[in-house]
């Protein structure tokens, strides 16, 4: 195969084979691949903005006292950082981007069950994002409540809570419709021979995620609607003076927001389950248990929301129940980790970049998960609740976990869609910088939390200064690595070396079609005769 470095792929593919060009052929497209890219670039833009906000937060915290912003601004910045990351990047991003791009291909389908609804989901997302952005610059200014919008402050603050919350509501509706679409797609559109037992584990994870989107997000919807009702109508449902109970807000909020973190992590785990067998040249160990554990995480994860409320004044009975169940939900995650490691054992491991991200995922997610147990044990939680320990915990699982998995997916799958690949060495260096920078940034936070530094605090005691300085420097290394990664990746996708159909030697269906894929996906409906990690059965050495 020739190795030319032309700037545009001359091959006919979904990028150009419909005959339509221009922006309208994209923003009104019902092709799951185009919609996947619409999501990918939208969510990634918000990710980068939120990263910038995070960098600003760390600059403010580099030393005690005021550095670059005042306390009100600080409150707004961490609120917006959280809202963007959670509601405009991670939650919509995994299903919306890689779910859309890859899942239909992996089940051998032509598209999703409801392509127009899929497009509508993206438009709702954009509309909601627009409302959230508008809320930052209008009215009383950006919300300062934290992304959790706790009452009573969320009811009383004069900042633009109602508009922001309405934007989140809209984005939530988008998430619900995507979940509905994906559940139906996976039930109805699997190719002949694609039994449930042959589904790629990424599809299993998207399936479990879709159910959480469908069943948990409506509770968020009603909770957000209630905030607006409280602010505008004075319904007083969370106001003790009017007979309300502020804890009921917390229950309703976390009934969604805890399962939501599994929306954030399950697809990432699915990605790891795809990458590891390919780069260890070994079928996945314990396929059934990994598939089952995805469902178990979704299910058990819906039972533990009270662990965010141990210090809120909840009953001791509830504390006991939720703490116990939190330990239970760790088990299926551990099953996955054991199975991934067992897959590596005696495998023929090649440490290319997708594998590096996957291996670091296992480490970082495990650290984050274990710190979650410290939080989940009610007694120890009392010491670390609402401290920087929590901030460290969730950045380990979401950033070190889900987002690293996303970076792995970007290196693994995007070349298939662009037909070109990135340069390996800069990618490895970028990964290494991010890995080192990440740990410096966030491990220090866990120590700070243990030592007593609260979260969401604009200022801190002098004894926390040294670790804060180290954490901030870590954030610069992290962001430097991120920048290098992005420059290298996108330069490669647009101008790098062309790749063939199956550069990684994987056995799932998306690698059987041309690179980049045509709009139709499959020339003929595939008939599946082997499992997703059965390299021999797929005829791959």
């Amino acid at each position: 195969m020739t190795s030319t470095n032309q700037t545009t792929p001359p091959i006919s593919s979904f990028w150009n084979d419909t005959g339509k060009t221009g922006i309208t052929s994209w923003i009104f497209s019902t092709d799951h691949k185009r919609i996947g890219f619409l999501y990918f670039y939208s969510v990634f833009s918000f990710f980068l903005i939120a990263v910038a906000l995070g960098v600003l937060l760390r600059i403010e915290l580099i030393a005690p006292g005021r550095t670059i912003m005042g306390p009100q601004t600080y409150n707004a910045v961490f609120t917006v950082h959280g809202v963007l990351m959670i509601f405009l990047f991670i939650i919509p991003g995994f299903p919306g981007a890689f779910g859309n791009l890859v899942m239909p291909l992996q089940i051998g389908a032509r598209d999703v069950a409801f392509p127009r609804l899929n497009l509508f989901s993206w438009w709702l997302y954009i509309f909601g994002a627009g409302i959230i952005i508008a809320s930052l610059f209008t009215g009383g200014g950006p919300p300062d409540t934290g992304w959790t919008f706790y009452v009573p402050f969320a009811e009383r603050t004069t900042t633009n809570v109602s508009l922001a919350v309405f934007g989140v509501f809209t984005v939530g509706f988008s998430s619900i419709l995507t979940g509905l679409n994906f559940v139906t797609t996976i039930h109805r559109l699997r190719a002949p021979g694609m039994t449930w037992g042959r589904l790629p584990l990424f599809v299993w994870s998207i399936y479990a995620t879709a159910w959480i989107q469908v069943l948990a997000t409506p509770i968020l919807g009603i909770t957000l609607a209630l905030i607006i009702a409280e602010r505008f109508l004075g319904t007083g449902l969370f106001d003790p003076a009017r007979g309300g109970d502020p804890l009921m807000y917390q229950h309703l909020f976390w009934i969604y927001s805890h399962p939501a973190v599994y929306i954030m992590i399950l697809p990432g785990m699915g990605i790891i389950s795809e990458i590891i067998p390919v780069f260890a040249r070994k079928p996945i160990f314990g396929y059934k248990m990994i598939a089952f554990s995805s469902l178990a995480i979704a299910g058990a994860g819906s039972l533990v929301w009270g662990h965010h409320m141990f210090t809120s004044g909840m009953s001791d009975t509830a504390i006991l129940v939720f703490s116990f169940l939190t330990f239970v939900v760790a088990i299926p995650s551990a099953i996955k980790v054991f199975n991934w490691v067992s897959t590596l054992y005696l495998g023929s491991i090649s440490l290319e970049v997708p594998m590096l991200f996957s291996l670091s995922f296992i480490l970082l997610f495990s650290i984050g998960g274990l710190s979650g147990l410290i939080l989940g044990a009610a007694a120890t939680d009392i010491h670390v609740h609402d401290t920087m320990f929590v901030v460290g915990h969730f950045h380990y699982v979401i950033f070190g976990g889900a987002v690293f998995a996303l970076f792995g997916a970007m290196h693994y799958w995007l070349p298939k869609f662009y037909g070109r690949r990135y340069a390996e060495k800069p990618a490895v260096i970028a990964w290494a910088l991010m890995f080192v920078g990440f740990n410096i940034t966030y491990f220090t936070m866990m120590v700070l939390g243990m030592e007593g530094m609260p979260r969401r605090y604009y200022d801190y005691l002098p004894e926390f200064a040294r670790l804060n300085l180290i954490s901030t420097i870590g954030s610069w290394i992290l962001v430097g690595g991120l920048a290098l990664m992005l420059v290298n990746l996108f330069r490669g996708l647009f101008r790098g070396e062309p790749i063939g159909r199956n550069p990684w030697g994987a056995a799932t269906l998306e690698w059987t079609i041309p690179t980049p894929p045509p709009t139709e996906n499959f020339e003929e409906e595939p008939v599946v005769t082997h499992g997703p990690y059965d390299f021999k059965g797929a005829g791959i050495p």
Binding site: I219, M248, I255, S302, M314, S315, T317, A318
Partner: protein, 98 residues
């Protein structure tokens, strides 16, 4: 002609059966009002809810055709309702024991 709806034998519910269900629902409505008015106090909430569940069951089974649908839809409905029950039930671990 699309294979749309005609590719399988869709069960058609007769007007007569639908009318019976409608009458049953109206009767149950009358019953639940009567029970409430003659049993004052909070104890009858469970009674009212039981009748409501029966009414809902009739609507779901016959008006919404669930009786004639496959196992998948029935399981999924049960699953969704269980999730809601758990959300409410677990909240009561807090509310009842403060």
């Amino acid at each position: 002609m699309t294979e749309g709806n005609s590719e399988h034998a869709t069960h058609i519910i007769s007007y007569g059966k639908l009318a019976s269900v409608w009458l049953a629902l109206l009767f149950l409505t009358w019953l639940t009002v009567r029970v409430a008015r003659h049993n004052v106090g909070i104890g009858h909430v469970w009674g009212s809810l039981t009748i409501a569940v029966v009414k809902a069951g009739l609507v779901i089974a016959f008006f919404m055709h669930m009786k004639y649908e496959g196992r998948l839809l029935r399981c999924l409905l049960f699953f969704a309702l269980s999730v809601l029950a758990i959300f409410i039930g677990f909240t009561f671990f807090d509310v009842l024991y403060r």
